[in-house]
Amino acid sequence: MAAEDTLILRARDFWTALVLIAVSLFFLWKTSDIPLFGSNRAGVSGADWYNSAAIVPLGIFSGLLVLSFVLLAISIRSGGAAHALTRAGIGWNPSEALRFGTIALMLLAYIAGLVPRVDFILCSGLLITALIFGYQGGHPQRMILSTVFVTAAGAFALLAYGPQAEWNSHVDDWVTLALWALLTLIVLSQAKQTPVLRVVPLIAVLAPFILVCAMAFGFRQNVPARGGLIFKQIEYHYYVTLRPLWRT
């Protein structure tokens, strides 16, 4: 490892050590909620120290605290603390920050906003289209545009239909479908410059369709948003139209 890389690592280790110390202390404090030295609850005598549910976590978080201090000492001795606040020391890279930030936002919108509420084929199709378009070629504008589409769909679903009781609404399905269609048009308009983009609509439709059908009808497992716009139709026709063909 080059000396410069090591210095960046030690600067990051400085911050990590501080976070780990804070986390260890917090969980050591939370461990104090668990009876350690023979509790007495409602007149029933609890466990001895050696059988307490707190003994192992206590050891783990104490160990983590000690190791965090050792890491902090290593970092300070290697010059990590001195460079901890500098841009170069932390190894800040704006393009990498944009790349990670946009991916993180899209994944958050997908998992927290879309998957629980929106039809799985629709939301996964949108995600696949956005991720391929955003990161094939490494264009920052495309990353941002893709993120806008996915987060807009996710935020709408999350904010408009947050509570579980409202997850069956189809308005967010339609919004996601519209955003997906619009993004697909943009993707296809760029396909001349990036030929790979031509196959994106095909992958975006087929991959989630095959996966959700395999999981629901092949493995007979639960799938997210069973009442979604498209899956509801697939499920209906599978049981009502198709299945009787081979059941009879």
Partner: protein
Amino acid sequence: MEFILNQLSGFGGAFVALVVDPLTYAYLITSVFLGIAFGALPGLTATLAVTILTGFFGNKIPLDYSLIALLGAYVGAIYGGSYPSILLNIPGTAASAATAMDGYPLAKAGRGGEALGLTTTASFIGTVIGTLALLIFVWVLLLISKNIASPEKALLALFGILLSGTLMSEDLVIKGWIAGLIGLAMAMVGLDPILSEPRYTFGWSYMLSGFQVVPVLMGAFAVPQIIEGLRHTATGTMVALKGRVVPKLGVVRKYLPTIGRSGVIGTGVGALPGVGEDVAGWVSYGVGKTVSKEGDTFGKGSMEGLLSSETANNACIGGALIPLLVLGIPGSPPAAALMGAFKINNVIPGPTIDPEIILRVVAIMVLASFTMFIMGLFTAKIFIRILRIPQTVFLPVVMVLTTIGSFSVGGGINDLYLMLAVGFVAYFMNLMKYPIAPLVIGVILGGLFDETLRRSLLLSDGDLSVFVSRPGAAILLMLNLALVLSQLPLGKRLLARMKRTPA
């Protein structure tokens, strides 16, 4: 002798039962194909292949078929990593990093077909060597492990986490230990295994059952890989495959000593808890460079160099299954994913495992290596085409696969939140050179460690001497202490001085 014959006849029975079942082939061919494809695609790893298939096949089909799918993918993926190493100079998996050193120069010299054919043969022989070791040593260890009680189990689990942390750290060893402790800490969430006392649940009922293994596996292994891989990279110039792939018998015979040696090294390294195929490949490559007559040409296009790493990484699979099946401690990161599959099928690997399962695992391994061998020799061109797919195209599909796989095991959205949270943490840990395997092993072994440690103390009324009064426990305690002390500055200085002192 009678013992070996008994094992062989038991293995024969399991093998025939699998061979006569037509479904075996369906699962085997699909999983080995998927495994090779995962290994061949730079950005996807063997661990990811086993993890994702655990989400799909883990608890949805009978255990036998599930094992066929997972072991087939494991064997295929470790072998598949050799394709981009040889033809693109990009290791498909970490296990094939050493392969690229000699594979690419060989392909550039017009010997790509020969390199690929011999790699396939060596990987096959390596897997069989590892599997034979599994068949023989697993029984010897099982006999010993009958004497293993709670104190030994607790110390073994700790040793597995510490050793994995020590050997898997790229940067400071302390980072491996921290990762292991974070994994152990995650395993403490939920109702404790003895008194059912809630721990760190923050009043959330989902947390009462603790963190589920599959979302943690998906988060730790898949999400960081997806985030890391979603960047534009030039595909690289692929060297055209020249020459026949099917190797000549005489050439194979010439390299048999190298293949045999590397197979034994790979199996041995694999048997160390938590140490993966990449370490096996490099160790075997290093040994090969030292002992081989053509050691000077290693790194410049040596066939022996290529076979040293490729045989060892496949032999490592059988080795990695030994501690998994006998002690319940995964021998490598993909084996940790495999343990997740065992857990969700309510099979507890370790001294109490049903011996029939071990025989079936061995039979599946042999069949999987045969399938890999045949596919590798006769369908190489299909896998070479796969190499052309950019990772920005297949990784989004992997994300969707991961999501539905993780959701279907537990059937809840909370598992997806857990997966994403673990994924982000694991990404930053990767960025700061913290190994992820010790974290996963910590999560998997945490429950066992907690339960057995407290049970030991409970049975001895809190007497700590229970960890030294039993010979097995005393040895394991010494090993744990020696491992920690050897990494302290004083221990390192002592070791260095011992090395300098002539014998």
